[in-house]
């Protein structure tokens, strides 16, 4: 059984691609066959985050148009044998993606026996975002603890409940999960940032992962290594936990959500 998971958010810059890359790696590391597809037509970026930008020969739109086979376009990850990337096209043609075309590619991946297909959605609520979520079984909504991101996430949840194949055909709902990124326990403790409970409360949805704000995320993207592969990084461990929860381990406690303990000096003088 193949599971199609969309990684979406509405707002840009919250960490969709970072999350797609890390979840894909994390799932593939467990031996599952994973394909991760960049739906951001015109603004290809997943390849850079995955570190395979120089190996892109054919892209998603080429496959849809029949310019090449799916096998030719899938880029096999150099770190994990069971992980494949399908790059976005850089065409400016907004109609390059069609529902039928997307369906065709997904069907071929399903027939090929992939366990997971991750759809990395573009920002916004236009065609690319719509098609990225349309055939999803599950959705990971990436949200920053910040007003505009939370509001946009709620918009996206509305779309997941109405503009997906599952919603239109009246089948079982798309399973939705929240994933908080750029979380700062220190700022939450100071009352400067929305807490996990606040976001949960406003959006009425459970949280599948909380990724702490971390300098490692930038270093990872600089290097073209999905952050989950960075050893000794809190962000990597937090993504690892999110993957375990995606795979069904619901009892796993959240880590990195409490303010780090301060020493005596810091407690007296603040910091």
């Amino acid at each position: 059984m193949t599971e199609i998971i969309v990684v979406t958010s509405g707002k840009g810059g919250v960490g969709k691609t970072t999350t797609s890359a890390s979840l894909a790696c994390g799932l593939a590391r467990t031996g599952k066959r994973v394909a991760v597809i960049d739906f951001d037509i015109g603004l290809r970026n997943l390849d850079l985050i995955m570190g395979c930008e120089r190996r892109v020969v054919y892209d998603f739109v080429n496959v849809i148009n029949g310019d090449c086979t799916l096998k030719q376009a899938l880029i096999k990850d150099k770190r994990i044998d069971t992980l494949f990337v399908l790059a976005a096209s850089q065409t400016r043609d907004k109609d390059a993606l069609t529902a039928e075309g997307v369906r065709k590619v997904l069907d071929e991946l399903i027939a090929d026996g992939f366990d997971f297909i991750l759809c990395d959605s573009p920002a916004g609520i236009e065609k690319g975002a719509h098609l990225a979520m349309y055939y999803a079984d599950r959705a990971v909504v990436v949200v920053n603890p910040e007003v505009s991101s939370v509001r946009d996430s709620d918009r996206i949840l509305g779309l997941l409940a109405s503009k997906t194949e599952r919603a239109e055909k009246g089948g079982t709902k798309v399973r939705e999960h929240l994933l908080l990124t750029r979380y700062s326990p220190t700022r939450v403790a100071a009352g400067e940032m929305l807490s996990i409970a606040d976001v949960k409360d406003i959006l009425g949805l459970d949280v599948i992962g909380v990724i702490p704000e971390s300098p490692q995320v930038l270093s990872a993207s600089n290097a073209g290594t999905p952050v989950i592969m960075m050893d000794e990084s809190d962000a990597a461990a937090a993504y690892g936990d999110a993957v375990a929860r995606l795979l069904g381990d619901e009892s796993l406690p959240m880590r990195f959500i409490d303010e780090p303990k301060k020493g005596f000096f810091a407690r007296v003088f603040g910091g």
Partner: protein, 84 residues
């Protein structure tokens, strides 16, 4: 909290964010699936009302609800407090 925090005057803003979000998200959920003409209706109502009373742009609220096959359009107009 350290000694230096004691002298900081900025008040925590997360609660403010939460309250604002709660209101706007609830309002937007309410209008989901509502007819597209609602924003225009609200704008035009505001124009008409402003011919008579000088009200704020947030004084006119249009809410749409659907319950048990019945559609309800709720309009509320908050008139300004009279200056003495």
């Amino acid at each position: 909290m350290g000694l230096l925090d004691f002298f900081r005057t900025t008040s925590p803003s997360a609660n403010l964010a939460k309250e604002r979000l709660r209101i706007i998200v609830q309002q937007e959920r309410g209008s989901r699936g509502a007819p597209d003409y609602l924003p225009t209706l609200r704008r035009e109502l505001l124009e008409v009302i402003r011919k008579y009373v000088n009200v704020d742009s947030e004084a006119v609220q249009v809410n749409y609800e659907r319950e048990e096959g019945q559609e309800v359009l709720e309009l509320s107009v908050a008139l300004p407090v009279k200056a003495r």
